[in-house]
Chain length 101, copies 2
DNA sequence: ATATTAATTAGCATAATTGCTAATTAGCAA
DNA sequence: TTGCTAATTAGCAATTATGCTAATTAATAT
């Protein structure tokens, strides 16, 4: 679940694609125009994001509209937050006592 | 910043290490015992996490204590959440041009 | 000095990722 | 049918990640 999403979000271009989709659905060509990478390269990143369920694709005549899957982004963020100890106050990173067990 | 953290968190073993550190600081050996991977392999994952500033290391006599860096985890989660469109006309750090549609 | 324990670093092999160009599929319009 | 546009897939080279064993550093103790 989140494992694929976090891996997909590890690449800067893929994060930028997700960022570009914040403002609404875009076609593959529109997205490819935003980056220096070639269109096939962007297309592959889109496939990776789709495989991780971070985006959905919908055919519109000759083009394909991509849109972000918000819930999966939320799940991914939650998975990262879950790595922080929930209960028991924790300091930032300077000195705190280690729990002995 | 978050780019290294998200990349580091893309690997399941590294996430499990962070998970193991939720309950408090642990030594390299204690962490290595938790996984099937060899100690050197775990050690390398620790180096990756440290490089991403997700953990800190402190020498304690013959062993080295690792602890999670909570603030960086928070930043990483925030970076993922930032990929979700904030409600209505609300542009945080949108450096993309708007779609023509 | 040697020994012991804790941990990392070195070196290597394999696997996965990335990004390109060229080729191909998909839909639409004459 | 042909042609055109949109997009993906194929195939390849280069890079990076992963994980192992063997060697090495570090701290402590005898």
């Amino acid at each position: 679940m989140e494992i694929k999403a976090l891996k997909a979000l590890a690449h800067p271009v893929r994060r930028q694609i997700m960022e570009a989709l914040r403002s609404g659905a875009k076609t593959s060509g529109e997205l490819a125009d935003l980056f220096d990478a070639s269109w096939p390269t962007v297309s592959r990143h889109l496939a990776t994001l789709k495989e991780a369920d971070l985006i959905t694709a919908e055919r519109r005549a000759t083009s394909i509209l991509y849109r972000a899957n918000t819930s999966v982004l939320e799940d991914a963020a939650a998975a990262v937050l879950a790595l922080i100890r929930a209960d028991d106050g924790n300091d930032l990173d300077d000195d705190m006592k280690e729990a002995a067990e």
